[in-house]
Every structure is written in structure tokens, then in C-alpha cells.
């Protein structure tokens, strides 16, 4: 005569074990989701701007000359933008020329007749979450240095 009690007990134990395995898998799934989230780059929240070949702080552009500027995402490990960056200036005597290979780089040329002390360079973009980010940087316009002396004059008396 078969022992139904023992058989039933064995099946229940197996089901219980399967439940425990399923719970374990669920926990692993949750942990993996957290790890994936932590590994994803954060969205950009702002722009930083650097000037020139040496990629240094903004020092300004001398009147009648030009220099290039490079926008950087903040934080540095931010996810790529959905769109942008777009550079703009309001000073009509400042001309912007985008770089042909680097969309984060632009050259600003200040006309020799510009008498402003600075111009605003605005950088706009849309981050990886679809939020608009923007930063306006004030770029000093540097006056041309005085010319070198070419001669002496002489005067007499106190």
C-alpha cells in the first residue's frame, strides 16, 4: 500500500524550495536593476566653458581678433545631450563660427570697432532626460595694447 503521507510531504518540500529559488531570483533582479541604474551616466545639468588652445579659464578676446571656446558638460561624466549645444551671442560685432568637427567648439571673432567691454556667449542644449539646460558666459573684450614707441621727443624747461 503506497504511503501517500510521505509523497505529499515530499511534494510540498519541493514547492517550498521552488518558491525560495523564485524569491532569490527576484532579489537578484532587483539588485541588478540597482546596479544598472548606478552605472548609467547622470544627465547634464549645466555647461562649463573653457577658452583657447590650452583649454584654460576664460581670459577674454582682444578687440579685432578671435579665439575659440569649448563647452563641457557638467558633470563631466554626463550622458550625451539629446540636442545641442547651440552657441549664440547678442553683440552684433561678435561673429561665431562653429567648428566643423567638434560641435562643442566655436570660434568668436570680435570686430575691431567693438567698444563693448564684454560680450555674452550663451550655450543651450537639451540633456538626456529632455530637460533644457543653458548657461550664459561673460567674455571680456580686451583692448589692444598700446603701440611700441618708435622715437623720442625732447622738451626744455621745468
Amino acid at each position: 500500500m503506497p504511503d501517500h503521507g510521505h509523497e505529499e510531504h515530499g511534494e510540498r518540500a519541493e514547492v517550498h524550495q521552488l518558491w525560495r529559488i523564485a524569491e532569490g531570483i527576484e532579489k537578484i533582479e532587483k539588485h541588478l536593476a540597482c546596479i544598472c541604474k548606478a552605472l548609467q551616466p547622470p544627465p547634464a545639468t549645466d555647461f562649463q566653458l573653457i577658452q583657447g588652445e590650452k583649454m584654460g579659464a576664460i581670459t577674454g578676446v582682444q578687440v579685432g581678433s578671435s579665439d575659440f571656446f569649448t563647452a563641457l558638460l557638467v558633470p563631466a561624466n554626463a550622458a550625451p545631450l539629446q540636442s545641442g549645444p547651440v552657441f549664440s551671442v547678442t553683440d552684433s560685432l561678435v561673429t561665431l563660427t562653429p567648428d566643423s568637427t567638434n560641435t562643442f567648439k566655436v570660434t568668436a571673432a570680435v570686430d575691431a570697432s567693438d567698444t563693448n567691454l564684454s560680450f555674452d556667449l550663451k550655450v543651450d542644449g537639451v540633456n538626456s532626460l529632455g530637460a533644457a539646460i543653458s548657461h550664459t558666459f561673460t567674455i571680456p573684450i580686451l583692448q589692444a595694447p598700446p603701440p611700441a614707441a618708435v622715437d623720442f621727443d625732447l622738451s626744455q624747461g621745468a
Binding site: A149, D151, F152, D153, Q156, G157
Partner: protein, 86 residues
């Protein structure tokens, strides 16, 4: 300060050099004043652009040369003929 008119023999006067153009950047060195006439004494002042020139009483020359030189982008120099008045 005015135009160079000259110095009477036996007297002295102050001379001031200035840069051309007047809004030039500062010199790298100078100015240096020099006279070759042994009857003319050159005295420095606290202002490097000013000198006092004294002409000896026994000077007989009609004028003497004052050379001013300095270093800007290039070396610059000018020679001024100063009349000796009698």
C-alpha cells in the same frame, strides 16, 4: 615744458624726453641720455626721462648734441641739437 630753445653758456636747464607716440607702451630699457661735448655736463634726476644739462662758461661751440636712446620693440634713438646761447 616747451620747445628746445637752447642753454646759455655758463648756465643749466632741465630737459625731458618723451615717447613717440605719447601713448606708447613702456620702454624695455632706457631712456639713456648722452652728450659728447666735454663742455656740457649731464646730471640725472629722479625721473629717468629728465636730465639737467649744464654748459660750461668757456664753451665756444654753437650747439651740442644730446642723444636719447632706449629699447622699445626695437632700439630707438634720436639726436637733438641743443643751441648754446650767448
Amino acid at each position: 615744458m616747451g620747445k628746445v630753445t637752447g642753454i646759455s653758456a655758463g648756465s643749466s636747464d632741465l630737459f625731458t624726453a618723451s615717447l613717440v607716440p605719447f601713448y606708447s607702451s613702456p620702454l624695455h630699457s632706457g631712456p639713456v641720455f648722452r652728450v659728447t661735448d666735454p663742455h656740457v655736463k649731464l646730471s640725472k634726476t629722479s625721473d629717468p626721462f629728465r636730465v639737467i644739462l649744464t654748459v660750461a662758461e668757456n664753451s665756444t661751440a654753437p650747439s651740442f648734441d644730446l642723444t636719447v636712446s632706449g629699447h622699445s620693440a626695437d632700439k630707438i634713438s634720436n639726436v637733438f641739437a641743443i643751441p648754446i646761447l650767448r
